[in-house]
C-alpha cells in the first residue's frame, strides 16, 4: 500500500517542479524517440510480418503490416522440414570450437605479453595491431592453398582454424590490456607461495580476469556465428553448411516465390543472438569505452 502512496508522491513532486513549457518539451522528446525507434526497427517489423504469412501466397504490391491470415506455417517448415538443425549443429560446432581454441591459444600469449619483458616485445605488439588491419581477402588465396594442403577444405575444422587465425591478434591484444590492469603483486605472491609461472597464471591471474576472458569468448563466439562470406567459400557440401550459408541459400532460392520461409529462418536465426547480445551489451559498453579511451 505504501508503495503506491510513495509513487503517487513522487509523480506529484515531479510534476510540481516542471513548468508547462518543460512538460511539452519532455513529452515531445519522448514522442520523437518513439517515432525514431519505430523507423529504425521497421525492417524488423516487416520481416516478422512476412514470416507470419502463409507461404506460397503471392507477395503484394501494397504494404500490409499485419498479414491477412497470420500463420506459423513458415516456422513449421523451417523447424521440421529444412536443414535448420544441420545448420545449427554445424554453427554450434564451429563457434564453440573457435571460442575455445582462441581462449586456449590467446590466454597464455596475452599473459606473457602482459607480465614479461623479452626480446622483440615491442615489434611483436605492433605486428599484432598491424595484422588486424589487413583485409581478410588478401590472405584468402593462401588459405586455399593451406586448406587443400592439409586436407581441410570443405571441413568445419578448417573453418575453425581460419576464424581463429582471424580472431587471435585482436584477442591477444585485448586480453593483454585486461591482464595489465591486474597488479603483478599477486603473481609475485603466488610465486613466493610456491607456484611456478603456470600456477600463478592458472590459479591466480585467470580466475581474477574472468570478465576479460568472458569478453574474449563472447566476441569470438559472436564473430564466428555471424560470419558468412568465408564460410560460404570454405564449405562446399550441404551437410557442412552453417546457418549463415543456409540462410543465404534460402534467400537466393525463395526470393520471390517463398519469402515467408526466408523470413521465418531470419527471425529464428536472429533471436538467440539478439538475446545474448542484449545481456552482454551492458558490459560491452563499459569495455568499449575503456578500450576507446585507452586506445
Amino acid at each position: 500500500m505504501s508503495h503506491i502512496k510513495k509513487l503517487r508522491q513522487r509523480i506529484a513532486v515531479r510534476f510540481q517542479k516542471i513548468s508547462k513549457k518543460r512538460l511539452m518539451f519532455g513529452i515531445s522528446k519522448n514522442l520523437l524517440a518513439i517515432i525514431l525507434e519505430l523507423a529504425i526497427i521497421f525492417p524488423i517489423i516487416w520481416i516478422v510480418s512476412a514470416s507470419l504469412r502463409s507461404y506460397n501466397s503471392l507477395l503484394t504490391t501494397t504494404l500490409q503490416i499485419i498479414p491477412p491470415n497470420p500463420t506459423l506455417d513458415a516456422y513449421y517448415w523451417v523447424i521440421f522440414q529444412s536443414s535448420f538443425w544441420t545448420w545449427l549443429r554445424n554453427s554450434l560446432f564451429v563457434t564453440l570450437f573457435t571460442a575455445g581454441l582462441v581462449l586456449l591459444v590467446a590466454s597464455p600469449a596475452a599473459y606473457a605479453m602482459s607480465r614479461f619483458t623479452f626480446l622483440a616485445k615491442k615489434p611483436l605488439l605492433y605486428s599484432l595491431v598491424f595484422i588486424q588491419f589487413v583485409p581478410g581477402l588478401l590472405m584468402f588465396i593462401a588459405f586455399f592453398y593451406l586448406l587443400i594442403f592439409f586436407g581441410l577444405y570443405d571441413n568445419l575444422f578448417g573453418l575453425v582454424l581460419i576464424y581463429t587465425a582471424f580472431l587471435l591478434p585482436f584477442n591477444i591484444w585485448n586480453l593483454k590490456a585486461f591482464f595489465d590492469t591486474i597488479p603483478k603483486d599477486i603473481d609475485e605472491a603466488a610465486l613466493i607461495d610456491g607456484a611456478s609461472y603456470l600456477g600463478a597464471m592458472f590459479y591466480v591471474v585467470f580466475p581474477v580476469s574472468l570478465p576479460g576472458i568472458a569478453v574474449t569468448a563472447f566476441f569470438s563466439f559472436l564473430t564466428a556465428w555471424n560470419e558468412f562470406i568465408v564460410a560460404s567459400i570454405v564449405l562446399a557440401s550441404e551437410e557442412n553448411y552453417t546457418i549463415p550459408i543456409g540462410l543465404y541459400r534460402l534467400n537466393q532460392t525463395t526470393y520471390q516465390t517463398n519469402w515467408p520461409l526466408f523470413s521465418a529462418l531470419s527471425v529464428l536465426a536472429s533471436i538467440p543472438i539478439v538475446i545474448v547480445f542484449m545481456i552482454a551489451q551492458r558490459y560491452l559498453r563499459a569495455g568499449l569505452a575503456i578500450g576507446a579511451v585507452k586506445g
Partner: protein, 308 residues
C-alpha cells in the same frame, strides 16, 4: 661457505625471462606465422605472377610489375573507378555514421527520457542482429515490386524506382543500409565518452552564460574527441573494406558499377577467370591504403596520449 663461489647468474630477473615468455607464446606464434604472416607474404609474392585458376599447379611465371601496371596504368582502368566509388562510399558513410551516432548519443544522454534503458536496447538492435541477415532483409525491402520501401511510396503516390538496378540509386541504398548497421557502434562509443563527462562542467558553463551550442562546442566536443577519433578511424577501416552490403544487395550494382574494393577483389578471384595474381596485386594496393589508415590511427592515439 669456505670458498667464494663464482656468480654466473644464469637466472635472470623473474619477469625478464625470454625462454618462458616465448614458450607461452609459442602456440599463438605458430598459428600467427602459418595462418597470418605466411598468407600475407604469399599474397605479396603472387602479385608479381600471372597465376590464375588455369595455371595454378604449374605453368605460372613471374611477370614483374605487369599486374600493377595493368591496374594502375591507365586512368580509365576499372581499378580507379572501383577505388573512387569506394572512397566516396567511405567518406559519405562514415560521416553519416558519425552524424547519427553523435546525434543519437547526445539525444539519449539528455534528461527527460523515460525508460532510457529500453530505448537504448531498441536503438542498438541493428548491431545485435547479424549483419548478413539485416542486409538480406534490406535487400528484400528495396525490391522494386514487392519491397516495403516501394510499397510505402506506392501507397502515397510517389514514384517507385528500381533501387537496386540503377547505379546511383543502388549506391544510395548501400549508404542507407550501412549507416543503419554501423551507427550503433559509434553511438555506443560516444555515449560511453559522454557519460564520463562530469555534469558539473555543464552547470558551471550555464552559470557562465553559455548556450547549448557553446556547451557542445567547448565542453562536449573536446572531451569526446579522443574516443571519437579512434572509433572513426576504426570504422573508416571497416567501411572501406565493406563487402557484405554491396555483395548481398546487388553484387556490386548493375554490371559491377558499384563494386567496392573488396567485392572487386572477390569477383576477380572467384569470378570468371580467377585471376589470382591480379587480385593479389590489387589487394596489396588496398593493403597499403589500409595501413595508412592504421598508421594515422597510431599517430592520433599517441598524440592524444602525449596531450595527457
Amino acid at each position: 661457505m669456505n670458498k667464494k663461489p663464482k656468480s654466473p647468474h644464469f637466472l635472470k630477473d623473474i619477469w625478464s625471462r625470454n625462454f618462458v615468455a616465448y614458450l607461452y607464446m609459442l602456440p599463438s606464434l605458430v598459428m600467427l606465422l602459418i595462418l597470418n604472416l605466411y598468407p600475407i607474404a604469399f599474397s605479396v609474392g603472387i602479385a608479381f605472377t600471372n597465376m590464375y585458376l588455369g595455371n595454378i599447379s604449374g605453368g605460372w611465371r613471374f611477370i614483374g610489375l605487369s599486374n600493377f601496371v595493368a591496374l594502375l596504368g591507365s586512368f580509365s582502368s576499372e581499378f580507379y573507378y572501383v577505388l573512387y566509388k569506394t572512397f566516396l562510399f567511405t567518406a559519405i558513410n562514415v560521416s553519416l555514421q558519425v552524424l547519427f551516432g553523435l546525434a543519437f548519443a547526445i539525444f539519449y544522454n539528455s534528461k527527460g527520457i523515460f525508460g532510457k534503458k529500453i530505448h537504448l536496447a531498441i536503438v542498438i538492435l541493428p548491431w545485435a542482429i547479424p549483419g548478413y541477415i539485416s542486409t538480406l532483409i534490406w535487400g528484400g525491402m528495396f525490391q522494386t515490386a514487392y519491397g516495403a520501401i516501394n510499397q510505402i511510396l506506392r501507397g502515397v503516390g510517389l514514384p517507385t524506382p528500381n533501387w537496386l538496378n540503377d547505379e546511383w540509386l543502388a549506391f544510395g541504398t548501400y549508404n542507407v543500409v550501412n549507416t543503419w548497421l554501423a551507427y550503433p557502434f559509434m553511438m555506443t562509443v560516444i555515449l560511453g565518452a559522454l557519460q564520463g563527462i562530469s555534469p558539473e562542467l555543464y552547470e558551471s558553463a550555464t552559470i557562465d552564460g553559455a548556450r547549448s551550442w557553446h556547451k557542445f562546442r567547448h565542453i562536449t566536443l573536446p572531451l569526446i574527441r579522443r574516443p571519437l577519433l579512434l572509433a572513426t578511424l576504426l570504422t573508416t577501416n571497416t567501411t572501406f573494406q565493406q563487402f557484405n552490403v554491396p555483395f548481398l544487395l546487388n553484387n556490386g550494382g548493375p554490371a559491377g558499377r558499384n563494386q567496392t574494393v573488396m567485392l572487386w577483389g572477390y569477383n576477380t578471384i572467384f569470378g570468371s577467370g580467377n585471376f589470382y595474381g591480379l587480385a593479389s596485386a590489387f589487394l596489396d594496393i588496398v593493403l597499403i591504403f589500409v595501413l595508412i589508415i592504421g598508421f594515422l590511427g597510431l599517430r592520433v592515439s599517441r598524440i592524444a596520449e602525449e596531450e595527457r
